[in-house]
């Protein structure tokens, strides 16, 4: 049995996948990007309203697995009303969190997001968790290309 701390499908993840926060398009979005994981078919849209360098609204929708949906839900909850710099910082921490080469004790990240540490045990699922983050980063950087996680799989 997997250790409960590293277990992937924790209650929080299940709950956020069932009733995601900030789900649905954003009419007045200033930034938008689309992400796609061809391996599992996860397909996600990220919408942001950014003014004065601050994320005022942060939404997503799409057709994706529980891990991807929960990741997007928790990301948008954690980072709305935050500055773009804070987003960048937390993004870097999140990428370290899911990277088995980085010691967990070296990763500083809000507790709400730390539950994704368990995904280290599931290398084929890491992209499900990182897709919303990478797509949001592209939206913020105004990259119109579709984010694809294929090459790194």
């Amino acid at each position: 049995m997997p250790d409960p701390d590293t277990q992937l499908y924790q209650q929080t993840i299940i709950e956020h996948s069932r009733a995601p926060k900030n789900f649905g398009p954003l009419e007045n979005a200033s930034h938008h990007a689309e992400g796609y994981n061809p391996i599992c078919g996860d397909h996600i849209h990220l919408y942001l309203l950014i003014t004065d360098n601050t994320i005022r609204s942060f939404h997503f929708d799409g057709d994706c697995c529980a891990v991807c949906k929960a990741s997007a839900s928790l990301m948008t909850e954690a980072l709305k009303e935050q500055s773009v710099e804070v987003f960048d910082d937390v993004l870097q921490s999140f990428l370290k969190l899911v990277d088995p080469k980085v010691r967990l004790s070296d990763v500083r990240i809000p507790d709400a997001l730390r539950i994704f540490a368990g995904i280290r045990e599931y290398p084929s699922r890491v992209h499900c968790a990182t897709l919303p983050w990478k797509t949001a980063a592209n939206a913020i950087n105004n990259q119109s290309t579709i984010t694809s996680t294929e090459n790194s799989a």
């Binding site: 049995m1 997997p2 992937l8 299940i14 996948s17 069932r18 391996i39 078919g41 996860d42 529980a66």
Partner: protein
């Protein structure tokens, strides 16, 4: 009980596959990803091992004893495969690295010789990407046009449209014998008959078919047949292209290099005869020796003898899975192999795959390299359980319980 079911000894078969004894996440393995690749019997592993531990040598290149032995084992595999699919001539068995490689060979070599601008290649909506992309590449290169035969919501090809799409510009029909994502067994005899009535040759992608029922290329009268060794209990990196000599002789070589030539000078190179014309460079020697042994294993077993057992497992799995609320089976053709694709309204295929794995059950999730099939059903992915000769009703029970457990987690 018929004599054929008496002959099939499931316990003996299971004991032939050492990988079945492995524990996954604390549970005995239930391997239901045979569509992706099958497990290997001990005799195949031993044959590969024997080559590397006692018969290492290159083939067709030396007079020393080891080279003679390796060449004879390697060419012995070609003879095995010839008899397995009942090919008229040994030279019509071309070794490739897999189905993908075999189809690319035909696309490039047949394409260069026989396909011109405005010509048409006819495939189906249920092809594996490996029977789509090589043709799209050919279309880009030669200006030909790809035509696609649709299927209905059960996953059966629409033969009427096929007939309508066949015309005087059609240069080749390339169709999957058994769909890897739907399990449909296509009516290839009829397809071949209709195509031949218009002098159009037919390539069959038999990747999923070879391990399921005996194939006789003379009876089928197909022009080309492609399959992978690793889906037939053999090593990865092995594949076969059968082609009628009348086509192969007309086709230019595939890749240039050693083995595929008769003589080389800077003025003129003379190509080797079949099959070597299409086999440049040192091949996967150990792999084909292993594949030869795998084919012998299957011949000794008699695929026809395994049929009743597999049909029973498929029927049982279909019935048990259908009892679960919210499950929809994708691919419900009349004529099917033991491939069961499904989706659930609350659990995404990818989560399903991870969760059943925690119970030791290996299934495949995703689009199965058949995105047009997913598009047809308006979905992005399915979970797929694909059964082989060593799977049992017990495996089905463990699988169905694991699926139920995953669904409960999301309730």
């Amino acid at each position: 009980m018929s004599s054929s079911t008496v002959q099939f000894d499931i316990d003996k078969v299971r004991s032939d596959f050492p990988n079945l004894a492995v524990e996954i996440n604390g549970h005995p393995l239930v391997y239901l990803d045979n569509g992706a690749t099958t497990l290997k019997p001990q005799c195949v592993i031993d044959a590969v091992c024997h080559h590397y531990s006692a018969e290492t040598a290159n083939v067709h290149r030396g007079v020393h004893t080891l080279s003679e032995r390796a060449t004879s084992a390697y060419e012995g595999a070609r003879e095995r495969i010839q008899s397995f699919i009942n090919a008229p001539a040994l030279e019509e068995i071309i070794f490739t690295s897999g189905t993908t490689d075999a189809i690319n060979l035909v696309a490039q070599c047949y394409g260069r010789r026989f396909v011109e601008e405005g010509d048409e290649i006819l495939i189906t909506e249920m092809e594996h990407h490996s029977n789509i992309v090589p043709w799209q590449m050919l279309c880009e290169e030669r200006g030909c046009v790809l035509k696609v035969v649709p299927f209905n919501d059960r996953g059966e090809l629409c033969l009427e449209t096929f007939q309508k799409l066949l015309n005087e510009r059609t240069r080749l029909v390339s169709v999957v014998y058994v769909s890897n994502s739907l399990g449909t067994i296509n009516p290839v005899e009829k397809i071949i008959e209709l195509a031949h009535a218009r002098q159009v040759p037919v390539l069959l992608d038999a990747a999923q078919a070879v391990s399921y029922f005996p194939i006789d290329v003379q009876k089928l009268n197909c022009d080309f047949l492609a399959f992978s060794g690793h889906k037939l209990f053999g090593p990865t990196g092995t594949g076969v292209l059968y082609g009628k000599a009348k086509w192969l002789n007309e086709m230019p070589p595939y890749r240039g290099g050693g083995d595929m030539i008769r003589s080389v000078t800077f003025d003129k190179t003379v190509y080797n005869t079949l099959p070597y014309k299409f086999e440049a460079g040192t091949p996967n020697i150990a792999g084909f020796i292993g594949l030869g042994r795998a084919v012998q294993y299957v011949q000794d077993l008699g695929l026809a003898n395994t049929h009743a057992h597999r049909a029973d497992v498929l029927a049982y799995a279909t019935a048990e899975l259908s009892k679960i609320d919210g499950i929809r089976i994708i691919g419900t053709a009349q004529s099917k192999t033991a491939i069961l694709s499904f989706i659930h309204e609350d659990v995404h295929a990818h989560d399903m795959g991870t969760l059943v794995d925690e119970e030791g059950v290996a299934i495949r999730t995703g689009h199965h390299c058949t995105q047009p099939v997913m598009d047809h059903f308006g979905i992005s992915a399915t979970s797929r359980a694909s059964f082989s000769i060593y799977n049992t009703r017990d495996d089905v029970d463990r699988f169905v319980r694991a699926v139920q457990k995953s669904i409960e987690l999301f309730r």
